[in-house]
Symmetry: C2
């Protein structure tokens, strides 16, 4: 579907900034203009964090236009967002100020464009964020380095309010006081809504001012959507709290600037905010755009300026893939199993929607535990529950589940407790949010935990089978779930009952074999097999859902007669399935081992569309077919 999307060229920003002398109105107009372009870029990308970008827009405008000293100079003040969700808003502002190339506006979440979360390869991005709670610590490191270098610079860090549930924030506060970091100002974008719903319902922040004060910080509070109040707050910050770290709690509205998106417009009783990370529907886009434009034009007219001159792009909106999503399949299946198994409880870290837990939370509310953005706490809670006989299912995005509470998972394992960890959004795809959200190191990071079996189902039927395994097994399990819709090819593979370490042939071919797991890899392998077949080369495809266990006899059987063996991974090449298969083959010590080639990621994953990024990392069907073919031909040639 094509749609006309409007955006504001950089020279219009220049006209606005030059034309409005009043600092507050200048900041207001700039924020409105930035919001117009933020909305444009998110619509064009098909996803992006709109609500946070809008709530923070006035703070960002005030910082860049008035508060910061030389924000783009070599030793100038630094601003970055710790949550990083609000990147689209910051990009729009930087483009408006000429600090980023204008053409990047059209390339949000695209390969070589602007990543979904900040990356330091983009000018004026000072920290890779998106993984929550690290910003204050990062700023402290910058300040200590600046002091050693004799650079006098201020650092401004924006955090979310939900983000403050992460323990690292509180860990970080003490050192800033110890070092009397007057250079450091934290602004809490207190929009009251975290990814799923109201912060107060997830894990109430309580008296935030008292908390920061108790940790020794200077505390100010203001309306974070008011240029005038922000102005006052920053003045007071320097006047009343110089020589010490200070926080400005900026009360904002998620989606501020457009009634359409404003959390304050949510109907009474509605718990779910709809504009956290997806692109709005066309109607919502149109009405919000008109609101923003009217607000901007009214400011321009007040200062005697002509209305904004928009550029219009006729854009094909990204096509949404269809097909079942494994977290949702899993979530429904979990409810079924839990209804007849009282031991089962579910824990979530503020991703009840994306981990498929809404049915569970509604059907079994007393056995559902929302832990907030506090993965370490959640995993240790699960350990305590397991020690009293429950069977906890622990959920988050894989990126946040395999690394942050890694030591807590190991400690649970050292007690030989049975716990099921469910990591959704696993693997390289979707690639639009960027590397903070792409879990391509989870098998390696968890694979050596004793008694923990890592399993990745390839489709809906396999997800149900894997869940049954998780419940019946004596082992703990890490269930690795890809979140994007499963292709028809992968769905058609169905499933058979699972036996640990054993896979199954899902396409019989010649003496070349490719082994993989999960819907992304198996889809690409089945397509690659068809491409090769067209060239007269037959490829056997094996679905092996076990990522850190293998049945050596099965492997020997299935690879008998294979000349070329490929293992393809939606994961870094280190510490995954290819390592395990290679070692097992070598340890068996059979006379004839196939030629072996493991394929996976070798660098930090790129941001972009699914097709772009699979191709860029050599994991698309086309790239794989080429690579297979080259090796097969070579070996035939010998």
């Amino acid at each position: 579907m094509n749609i006309s999307l409007a955006w504001l060229p950089a020279d219009e920003f220049t006209r606005i900034l030059n034309g409005i002398e009043d600092p507050h109105d200048r900041s207001r107009a700039f924020a409105d203009a930035s919001r117009i372009n933020t909305l444009y870029s998110i619509m064009r990308a098909g996803s992006g964090h709109l609500g946070s970008s809008f709530s923070a827009a006035d703070t960002v405008a005030w910082l860049l236009l008035h508060e910061m000293r030389s924000p783009f100079g070599p030793d100038g003040d630094i601003y970055f967002s710790s949550k990083g969700h609000d990147a689209p808003g910051l990009y729009a502002s930087l483009i408006g100020l000429g600090a980023l190339p204008e053409e990047k506006l059209h390339r949000l979440r695209r390969l070589g464009g602007l990543p979904g979360h900040p990356d330091v390869s983009i000018p004026h991005m000072h920290a890779n964020t998106g993984s929550l709670g690290m910003g204050i610590s990062r700023a402290k490191g910058m300040i200590l380095a600046d002091r050693l270098a004799g650079v006098n610079r201020r650092i401004y860090v924006l955090t979310g309010d939900g983000e403050l549930q992460e323990g690292q924030n509180w860990e970080a506060l003490a050192g800033a006081v110890h070092h009397a970091m007057g250079e450091l100002t934290v602004i809490v974008d207190h929009n009251k809504i975290q990814s799923d719903t109201w912060v107060a319902d997830v894990s109430d922040l309580g008296d935030l001012e008292a908390k920061f004060r108790a940790f020794g910080w200077g505390v100010l509070r203001c309306d974070g959507n008011s240029a005038r109040e922000l102005d006052t707050a920053f003045r007071l910050r320097h006047k009343e709290h110089s020589g010490m770290p200070a926080v400005i709690i900026a009360d904002t509205v998620k989606g501020a600037g457009a009634v359409t998106f404003a959390a304050t417009s949510m109907p009474a009783g509605e718990w779910r905010y709809r504009f956290h990370s997806g692109a709005p529907a066309t109607d919502d886009y149109v009405s919000a755009h008109q609101e923003l434009l009217a607000s901007l034009n009214s400011l321009l007219s007040r200062h005697g300026l002509a209305p904004a001159e928009l550029s219009v792009a006729d854009v094909a909106l990204p096509v949404k893939a269809t097909g079942p999503q494994l977290p949702q399949v899993y979530g429904r299946a979990l409810v079924e199993r839990a209804l007849s198994d009282d031991r089962i409880v579910a824990l979530d870290a503020d991703l009840v929607l994306d981990t498929g837990l809404i049915p569970f939370s509604e059907t079994l509310p007393k056995r559902f535990f929302e832990c907030g953005i506090a993965e370490q706490d959640m995993v240790s809670i699960a350990g305590g529950m397991a020690s009293r006989g429950l069977l906890p299912f622990v959920h988050s995005f894989s990126c946040f589940l395999h690394a942050r509470p890694n030591e807590q998972m190991y400690t649970n394992a050292s007690e030989h407790r049975k716990i099921v960890y469910v990591g959704s959004l696993a693997g390289l795809i979707p690639a639009a949010p960027g590397h903070s959200h792409q879990a391509v190191r989870d098998i390696s990071a968890l694979g050596a935990i004793p008694g923990l079996v890592v399993v990745e189902p390839a489709n809906s039927a396999a997800t149900e089978a894997a869940l049954d395994f998780c419940i019946a097994s004596e082992s703990s399990t890490y269930l690795r779930l890809v979140s994007t819709p499963v292709s028809a090819e992968a769905e058609a593979l169905g499933a058979e009952p699972l036996t640990v370490g054993r896979g199954r042939v899902v396409r019989s071919g010649g003496t070349a074999m490719a082994i993989g797991s999960g819907p992304i890899v198996l889809t690409q392998l089945m397509r690659a097999a068809r491409l090769l077949a067209a060239e007269g080369i037959e490829l056997t495809v094996v679905d092996l859902p076990w990522l850190n266990r293998i049945d050596s006899d099965w492997l020997a059987d299935v690879t008998a007669g294979t000349d070329e063996l490929f293992v393809v991974e939606n994961h870094y090449t280190h510490g995954g399935q290819a390592d395990l298969i290679a070692r097992t083959l070598l340890e068996r010590g059979s006379e004839k081992v196939p030629a072996f080639c493991g394929i996976g990621l070798t660098e930090v994953p790129k941001c972009g569309t699914e097709a772009e990024v699979l191709d860029a990392h050599g994991l698309s069907a086309e790239q794989l077919a080429k690579r297979f073919q080259a090796r097969i031909r070579l070996s035939t040639h010998h």
Copy 2:
């Protein structure tokens, strides 16, 4: 050296408890008696956390004797220590109450005895701790499970004060308020000293009462070494804060109960507390024992009881190994390098002594940053520093460095910053502290981080070479350092300049080869080679210090002509050097690959002496020689 050590049999505890009616004096006498046995068990073990056991003894006594309802019954109240260091004190108390077998007192930190930190395999140990900051979360999980089961039980958790620097504690507080956890009481053993020195000097806790209050908790404070004040505090806890979680900040003295060990006896200007984790010198033992006995006997006499009747054991004190310790070698070398390289800064997480950083902190105090027990904060600070051009060296015990800040390390890597991580106390040995401190999963957990090279030197010379590599390399590095003294055999191997992925033959033998890294493995391999030589079997030994990089050509060269290849790891079998070597051999696809056998840990590491534990896990020279021999004979036989 043999020494007479005295301990108090369990029937003496019974006599004391039955003979003193006054609850405060009963608790005091019980605490003194427990301290006598704690001291005994630590002296006999040769190490153990004396200072914390003593500071917490009065709290533990009061809880077990008076406060807890049915502490040993199936649905009775639960007490556990989140820091877990104080395990020797708790063991002594439980033995005194008949809740643990008396003979265990003689087996602290021994195989099959009482582990250095709690393990749930020991009766009445409710959580595996030692890894800090998890206790409050664990207790919350127990409470939520109890509520579902309809069990009405209170949970008491002891935390350290230094431990509160860990962010997970603050993450955990909110949920306890949200769930109105009146069942939960946290006692802070506020002894003011963390492992190295005064908490206030490391990372001041500030106004601890205000912090807990700001988080919504009930707060009480008392002298935690006074039975009378503890009595009052617990009464008030239930009276004034029922239906909500509460903390009792128990002001204690580290080493309380014996002037010899009391932190209050430290000379003015002395910064280092000497009785955190090692066994005291004989003189200190004798004087403290006499003090404790005099205090106990004075209480007994006040209540008309005969003096305590001690049993005496004539004990051979554990022999301390001699040899250079790599963290100390490293620490001195780092100062040398840093004097001529301004980019180098050092960060520590409260282990300045054990990570070898005292020379650095004294020589370059402005470039030394003590971050406290806050590993995530430390790693993100390092990321901030690296982004401003510094070269941060980040230190902790490997167990705390590879897992807790795992996501922070990955985020730093995603920015392609160069950082050096130095994990000491790596591997299975020393095995006395127990599994929380045995880092045998670090290669797996870190190995897939892009751009991070994992290297483990085998001796002093190799440590210097590895440090030079860390500085010169474009990659980030994780330097894996064993902490126990390096054997003369390993030290004699010397070092050659390092090339990534290449090792060297340190003993030439026949067609059987064993590859390994680090002083523990290489010592055992050299000894195993001698044992085999005595049987007429020659073994080639290769030192390969690279754990996630390998030079395929070198590997092919060095293994050419090898029939049997063993890879031995001071690590779990998954995700380490053996996987890498096997895959590389298979991917090379040479016609003739050697028979391959990887040997490493397959279960949670055991606690005990070095000799006991290496043997129990099949990693001692004797066990390895047997295993090598069996396979070599088998293959010769074929």
